[in-house]
Symmetry: C2
Subunit: 325 residues, 2 copies
């Protein structure tokens, strides 16, 4: 069982050994730029950890791991255009540094490159199984992004709809990465399914935690501005839960805050947080997160393998889900 | 051997039997719209014709044929954004009828759908071989599009560079479709390569013919406005050949026309055409086209199969290359 830093080294070595083509540089330089903006490489790392539950020759799964990382960055490059986002990890987004045409076409070729790496992972039977999982998950990620876009202009989003959106947009890719690790290792369909469910449910728990931390995180530890979701009037799980369960006067006050700009940002964050607090919303959301987290680890426990082989994966996901909450 | 109309029927039946998912409708309706704008289905048809050189059970190749058609339409949807094109086949483009976000995301999911159909074509070994060809060609199409974009702002494009661009942007996909037909049929690598080269070289001949017809076509038969390239100051093969071989005063006159708007369109088309004519440019371009056409059919003749089995493909490509020229 290799440690996270050791796996990350292998992933970066694979990237160095398999760079984008040199020409046309206008097409591939933005791809290389995107891949070196300093992402955490979480998805390829958990794919390899999924593989290591069953086998030790981890390098065999590297092309699939890199395919998942390329796919994730393709979605970020196109999402940044759709969101008109100026920055990504503190650096200009591709459509800002170059232009929209470049961000579309470089994103397209990154997706195709993902499939090229996938086609290099093992024998034909393995590639076909990987392709089926990858296609299914990639489709769901696009559908989740569309749901997210739809929700921006809808005022009647239900909590089940919101949960389905975060599941599709981000959680299934974590599940898919683990399933692909299991496929590369030749695991049974049952174990591959348990790993998929582990990743999917943990992914939902992450997203719930993200909503919580955005409003309740420790400013010293949280990477972004605490209260950012409130200031952007985002319909997070905190908001939806309040709309579902709070008394009318609190709902009315929340709606008023969400329809106003933020002349005094601190006052707005404070006031909205007070509405959440007096309705016990953070406690309810934390309980919801715990429910998904427990269901996730139940699936991990069901994977048939000596317990020691799951340790690295268990610890990393556990640590990520314990951050400050 | 089935006729073109019979093959087109099968392709459309396959589409009817395998529609896009119903939801999210905001994602998939633009995909369905794009696929029903009335394209000629040239690429899936030649894939099936390539298959029929070797086998009769053509329906087995339909998923791969549809994958190629989906890929082609994905590139059109994204190219239309990049070109800011308002119309496609006389109808509003997706980014015009909906918006850019929709055209990006629906295009993305169409590309992924193409891979889903590919994964349904035959056994694992066939799918892997198809995937490798598809990935290679799809990458080249993106590279060709980038070269085309680069050329718009360059004044020093050479004829070999231009030929390479049209080869990548459009010709390799015709070659790839035929190669995929051969792979589906279990043809030898040699025959698959001959069919690829046939499609690639015929594709280059088509593009050369397109440049010629845009300026010299019969207005009654040519689908677009004759002289459109001249009015848009496009650096077509006619222009590049003139810059390469005409005397200085003709080059100077051509450059002047290309730097002016078209207050009197007919006069401009007439004047530029006169420059081409007195330098024998159309004859040179027609000879160039014939060279590629002959090389293409030489490869088709080299495919090991009873001559009768190549007839439908031979006739269709031959007819397309004889249009008015």
């Amino acid at each position: 069982m290799r440690s996270l830093p050791s796996l990350l080294d292998s992933i970066n070595d694979y990237f160095v050994a398999h760079p984008f083509p040199a020409t046309p540089s206008e097409l591939y330089e933005p791809c290389a730029y995107m891949m070196t903006l300093g992402g955490k490489r979480l998805r390829p790392a958990i794919l390899l950890m999924g593989y290591e539950i069953f086998r030790d020759d981890t390098d065999r799964a590297l092309p699939a791991a890199w395919a998942v990382e390329l796919f994730h960055n393709f979605t970020l490059m196109h999402d940044d255009i759709m969101d008109a986002a100026p920055l990504r990890r503190g650096n200009p987004t591709v459509h800002t540094r170059w232009n929209t045409t470049t961000a579309i076409l470089s994103g397209d070729v990154m997706l195709i490159q993902a499939y090229r790496h996938l086609a290099r992972t093992g024998d034909a039977t393995t590639v076909l199984a990987l392709l089926q999982t990858f296609n299914r998950v990639a489709t769901e990620v696009c559908e989740g992004q569309q749901m997210d876009i739809n929700f921006e202009t809808r005022s009647d989003v239900s909590i089940p709809e919101y949960m389905r959106m975060i599941e599709m947009k981000t959680a299934v890719l974590l599940g898919g990465a683990l399933e692909m690790g299991a496929i590369c290792a030749g695991a049974t369909a049952t174990d591959a399914e348990h790993l998929y469910q582990f990743g999917r449910l943990a992914g939902i728990a992450f997203q719930i935690q993200d909503d919580l931390l955005d409003t309740y995180g420790d400013p010293a530890k949280f990477g972004k501005q605490v209260g950012g979701d409130i200031l952007q009037n985002k319909k997070t799980l905190l908001v939806l839960k309040t709309l579902e369960s709070a008394p009318d006067n609190d709902i009315k006050e929340l709606m008023q805050w969400m329809q106003t700009g933020a002349e005094n940002p601190e006052q707005k964050v404070e006031a909205v947080r007070a509405i959440f607090d007096r309705n016990g919303i953070p406690q309810q959301i934390a309980a919801e997160k715990l429910k998904y987290q427990e269901a996730a680890f139940h699936h991990l426990a069901s994977v048939e393998a000596p317990p020691g082989r799951k340790e690295v994966l268990e610890k990393m996901i556990g640590d990520l889900l314990e951050r400050e909450s």
